[in-house]
């Protein structure tokens, strides 16, 4: 019967109900979008790293898993690594930022093609000159450019020589030497990839390199891609935790206001319930159930809206931000929304429960 009363109340004020559901859905969407972005960006990074086709990655000392904004390694190191036992192929790349989350990567295309199997071009083809750029499909779509067109970047115009399928190292690829010279990093590399003669030798090569190159993070690609997760990035984890708290606070505030107003509107109803013998607990339960139902509906709305935010990002900035759908976070976001809603409903609920029945019945 309580559920019926709650449902009828929600139905009786559809605008308030819809608005509350929507507003509770917003922090749920926010949380799912941010977590989805974190997971999506990391998964995309890992996918592109796997697309290199290497067995081992050698990174400069002091670098984190994701940051490679400088090129501190000498190209001579690459030459040395080529001579290591069991190293079949070696190639170096250079990474340089062009926007907040957008990087360009310089590659030696011949070496890179030998290691990765080469780009699969949808339009155009490989570099024909030093001022050519290869874009992946998403970035080309985001910039609205086709093969043969030009894009402006790093204060100059580049000819788009080819548009390739995504998933190989980077979204924007320049000739290595050009990028090195342009950024004052001639002869410098950001990262070195190695392919060994047999998968069984990967561990031995890594052990040997670690012994020789103290302080250099050296990973098997399997290890490297598995490390690219939220759990290994404390800053990202903290960020998600902060956002979770923000979501609880927003959910609390929305439900507090909504239920506070509802209780004011329903003063007479509460008086009637009390005259019928409803206890404080009964009245509080009605308010809490209503808040929980709103939060459940808000969670579903938030999940739906997170698909909307992903669609919007795919339409507007497919190359810059990749949002994953994170079903494992749906119950977490739902529980967080519910906790915020229950907290927000507590004070209005207690106020309702404490109302004097005579005053409540006299309320017009």
């Amino acid at each position: 019967m309580i559920l019926k009363l709650v449902f009828e109340n929600l139905k009786h004020r559809p605008l308030r109900t819809a608005l509350s559901v929507f507003l509770i859905g917003i922090p749920v969407t926010l949380m799912l979008t941010l977590v989805g972005l974190s997971e999506g960006m990391l998964a995309e990074t890992a996918r592109r790293a796997r697309g290199v086709g290497a067995d081992i990655a050698v990174r400069p000392p002091g670098t984190s898993l994701l940051s490679l904004s400088t090129a501190p390694m000498s190209q001579k190191l690459l030459d040395k690594l080529r001579t290591e036992p069991h190293v079949a192929l070696a190639t170096g790349t250079m990474v340089h930022p062009v926007a907040a989350v957008t990087m360009v990567t310089g590659v030696d295309l011949d070496e890179f093609n030998r290691m990765s199997g080469g780009f699969k071009f949808i339009q155009g083809g490989p570099f024909a000159g030093p001022e050519d750029v290869i874009l992946d499909e998403f970035y080309a779509r985001q910039r609205g450019v086709k093969a043969g067109g030009t894009i402006e970047m790093l204060n100059r115009k580049w000819r788009v020589c080819g548009i390739a399928e995504p998933g190989k190292l980077a979204r924007i690829v320049l000739p290595l030497a050009t990028l090195q010279d342009l950024t004052g990093n001639t002869g410098k590399l950001s990262q070195i990839f190695l392919k060994v003669d047999s998968p069984g030798n990967v561990d031995a090569v890594i052990a040997s390199l670690r012994a020789q190159l103290e302080g250099y993070p050296i990973y098997s690609m399997e290890e490297f891609t598995s490390l690219i997760s939220v759990n290994n990035l404390p800053e990202l984890k903290t960020f998600i935790n902060v956002m979770t708290v923000v979501c609880v606070v927003i959910g609390f505030a929305v439900v507090f206001l909504s239920m506070y107003t509802a209780v004011l509107h329903r003063t007479r109803e509460i008086g009637i319930l009390k005259s019928l013998g409803a206890s404080r607990g009964y009245v509080l339960l009605i308010i809490l159930i209503e808040a929980v139902l709103l939060s459940v509906a808000g969670s579903f709305a938030g999940i739906g809206l997170s698909y909307g935010s992903r669609w919007l990002m795919m339409k507007l900035i497919p190359a810059s931000l990749t949002q994953a759908i994170v079903p494992e976070w749906w119950p977490i976001a739902g529980v967080i929304a519910m906790a915020g809603a229950a907290l927000g409903a507590l004070y209005p609920g207690l106020s309702a429960a404490r109302q004097d029945p005579i005053e409540a019945l006299a309320y017009e």
Binding site: M1, R268, L273, K274, S275, S279, I358
Partner: protein, 227 residues
């Protein structure tokens, strides 16, 4: 429950003082009253005479300031807020001037809600089905209050008031919002409930004609029973 020979409502020296800002308003100034089980008592008096306050105290909606009030053997002066809530749930039923039905629920659900609050989870009893028939609202239970006439709403409110078979039905100006024809219907129904089911009824009214439906009438003025 009271024994048949003892009053179901026994009030001695009842006083009620309301604190309005810094002023004390004495609404009841020493009431003595007995109501026998199965009695239909009318309480009449002008506005401000204290009859509604008496109604609220007997119904457990507010505690007395002094004196003793025994309702179905419960001493209301010693009851906590939870105890008064229990009294409203099990011992008294209310009928209000403004009907006080929940507008979002159908007539049937208004009655079902009272049953739920009263802790009755089973279906309607044969006795209650008979009451619904007597009240003539069986066909109107699926409608919301806004689709019912004033008389129908009040009959639903009466059904709700007695659905948990309370020892006492308290009716506060039950015909105050009704035209004369509906007033007569409601008053006749209250008298039928009293006569057929032995329902104890305490009715507050301004109207001497309505008061005449009771077995006995007490007059209140300035917080006292004057006759």
């Amino acid at each position: 429950m009271s024994s048949p020979s003892s009053p179901i409502i026994a009030i001695r020296g009842l006083r009620k003082i309301f604190h309005v800002g810094k002023v004390d308003v004495e609404a009841l100034r020493g009431i003595d009253l007995d109501v026998e089980p199965g009695e239909f008592l009318s309480v009449v008096g002008p506005s401000g005479s204290g009859k509604s306050t008496l109604f609220h105290i007997i119904g457990g909606l507010t505690p007395p300031t002094a004196g003793t009030v025994r309702v179905a053997s419960e001493d209301l002066a010693s009851l906590s807020d939870a105890g008064r809530t229990r009294l409203r749930k099990t011992t008294v039923g209310f009928v209000f001037q403004k009907f006080n039905l929940l507008p979002i629920l159908t007539a049937g659900d208004n009655i079902a809600l009272a049953r739920h609050i009263g802790g009755n989870r089973g279906g309607e009893t044969a006795r209650f089905r008979g009451v619904l028939k007597l009240l003539g609202i069986t066909e109107r239970l699926g409608h919301k209050p806004s689709a019912l006439s004033g008389g129908e709403q009040q009959r639903v409110a009466i059904a709700r008031g007695i659905v948990n078979e309370p020892a006492i039905l308290l009716a506060d100006e039950p015909t105050g919002n009704l035209d004369s024809q509906n007033s007569q219907t409601v008053l006749t129904l209250l008298r039928d409930l009293n006569e057929r089911l032995g329902q104890t009824i305490l009715m507050i009214t301004h109207n001497p004609e309505a008061a005449a439906y009771g077995h006995r009438m007490v007059n209140m003025r300035d917080g006292r029973i004057v006759s």
